[in-house]
């Protein structure tokens, strides 16, 4: 099966006027994303995440290596029929309303007539912006901008969605909505390639993760495999009495070869607490 994304030996150098030697933003990065997966590329600021995404979209030309989307060279325009892209902190045309924005991007993808009307309606419902659809984008909040950005990225029903820092600067509610959308998209079989430095959020939504640092891909694999602590086992009990816990600990001691590392109450995250309290 053709992978959704294939990046082979990608190198990107930038020539700056102040340096004789070019600045290497991406250094021999290779990765493959199977169709239907959610892949997170994580790394600190300036590590080469956005440049990798731009190379995949043909916005920058690779110094060496190649990128392809569903088998099509990403420098060719037709590869973009299957891609939706949301850049970091997007600013759409402020003079357009949300609906007009979606119609504009839809028309760019060759949509028109009833198909376009239906897609616009569907996308506005998906990102929960039906009530604000006729308001000018200039009056949208950051979270609304991200959501209309997601809607425009999905307008032509792409098979691959590329998100650059999708939750940057968005409040916890907006951030939660965007992550819920990513789950919905995964259920629909859409491949998602996102980059972020918000590690907890990546951990929550991604199947595969790559860690990029100073332009190099230093670690890559299935999230479950990467974060599992191999020599530990977790048992979570509900309504267990202190006596039961003591008996279990005693049983572990009697068995030998194993030890209880920690017992206590699991903690919710601050985000979950926040969302629960304000709803």
């Amino acid at each position: 099966m053709t992978p959704a994304v294939e990046i082979v030996g990608l190198v990107k150098d930038f020539h700056t006027s102040f340096r004789r030697t070019p600045l290497r933003a991406v250094d021999d990065v290779s990765l493959t994303i199977p169709a239907g997966e959610v892949y997170g590329l994580i790394g600190p600021n300036g590590s080469g995440k956005s440049t990798t995404m731009k190379a995949l979209l043909g916005l920058v030309a690779p110094t060496a290596g190649r990128c392809s989307i569903f088998g099509k060279d990403s420098l060719k325009v037709d590869s973009r029929n299957d891609v939706g892209f949301l850049p970091e902190n997007p600013y759409f045309y402020k003079h357009l309303s949300g609906r007009e924005t979606l119609r504009f991007y839809g028309k760019l993808c060759g949509l028109g007539g009833k198909t376009l009307d239906e897609r616009v309606k569907e996308m506005l419902a998906l990102v929960d912006l039906e009530d604000a659809s006729d308001r000018r984008i200039g009056g949208y909040s950051k979270g609304m901008l991200q959501r209309i950005g997601l809607a425009q990225a999905l307008i032509q029903e792409p098979r691959l969605l590329i998100l650059d820092e999708p939750t940057a600067g968005v409040d916890p509610i907006g951030s939660r909505q965007i992550r819920d959308l990513i789950f919905k998209l995964r259920e629909r079989g859409i491949t998602v390639f996102l980059c972020s430095h918000l590690l907890e959020q990546v951990q929550e939504v991604c199947d595969h993760v790559g860690i990029i640092f100073r332009g190099k891909l230093v670690k890559e694999g299935r999230l479950e495999d990467l974060i599992a602590i191999e020599d530990q086992t977790e048992i979570v009990l509900k309504d267990a009495s202190p006596e039961l816990v003591a008996r279990i600990e005693e049983l572990v001691r009697q068995e030998g070869g194993a030890e209880v590392v920690r017992t206590g109450k699991p903690r919710t995250t601050l985000e979950r607490l926040f969302l629960r309290e304000i709803r």
Partner: protein
Amino acid sequence: MSQAATASASQGSHTGRILVIATHAFTQLMRMKVFYFLAIFAVIALASNFISLPQHEGPESMGSNVLSQIKSWSLGTMTLFSVVLAIVATALLLPKDIEDRTLYTVLAKPVPRFDYLAGKLLGVLMLIFVSLALMDLLMVAVLQVRTSMVLTQQQEMATALGWSQGTIDSMRAETEALGPNWSLQGAVVAVFLRSAVMAAIALMISTFSTSTLFTTIVSFLVYFIGYFQADARDVYLHSGEAGQGVLARLGSLLVSLILPDFQLFNVIDTVIQGGVLPLDVFGKLVFVGFYYTVFYTFASWFIFADKEF
């Protein structure tokens, strides 16, 4: 996933995409309220109608100066508006898209870079065309009313002075030549073509420029160079031995191919004075305007095709 939507997405034609981007650029500029300028034009056109010039002349020139003045003011304002809009609007659109990162979202769709550039240019030209058409309409209306007033006055004065019918008819023909006619429409087309060339030049500069200000200044410089480059080449080629060589002549040809010669557009002044715009001169203007607009658009594409964002 609906296959119908995906299939139709890949069917988008170049023309369709260019028109979508052009319509969008037109709307964007319109919502920036550039049409307010039309109100200023209306005031100028109407004000020029109320000029009172010295009345010590004979019937043959009575009021005819006012007709020239209306055309002069109107075409002058049209030139100012169209050239300023062509340069400033075009210089603004591209850097704004880059700065706001809307360019990423557009180019991440199946949009060839040529379609994007051509669409932006066409949007600016559509705005200039609509504006000029509205201004033209107003100018013709004002001119029509004033011409008939002048003709009536001349007729009355000439009859009172006992002029022969032949002389009166000749005077009438001269006055009508100063009113609205096809030559005047040709001059308006010339104004449009000149602004189209300037928009294409601004587009090319904005593909490599780092700021709107730089694009605007350089574009205006090219505009002024366009008015004396033909003279400069002429002086150089006839200045002595240096201008006689093959290299000098080839260099001169190259300059004329790359830099527009706006002196050709001076025919507008002839039309203002009641002169006729011959069809062959008009044809040459259309060809030259079209040539430079296409040349600069392709030059823009050449630079923009490999630009990285």
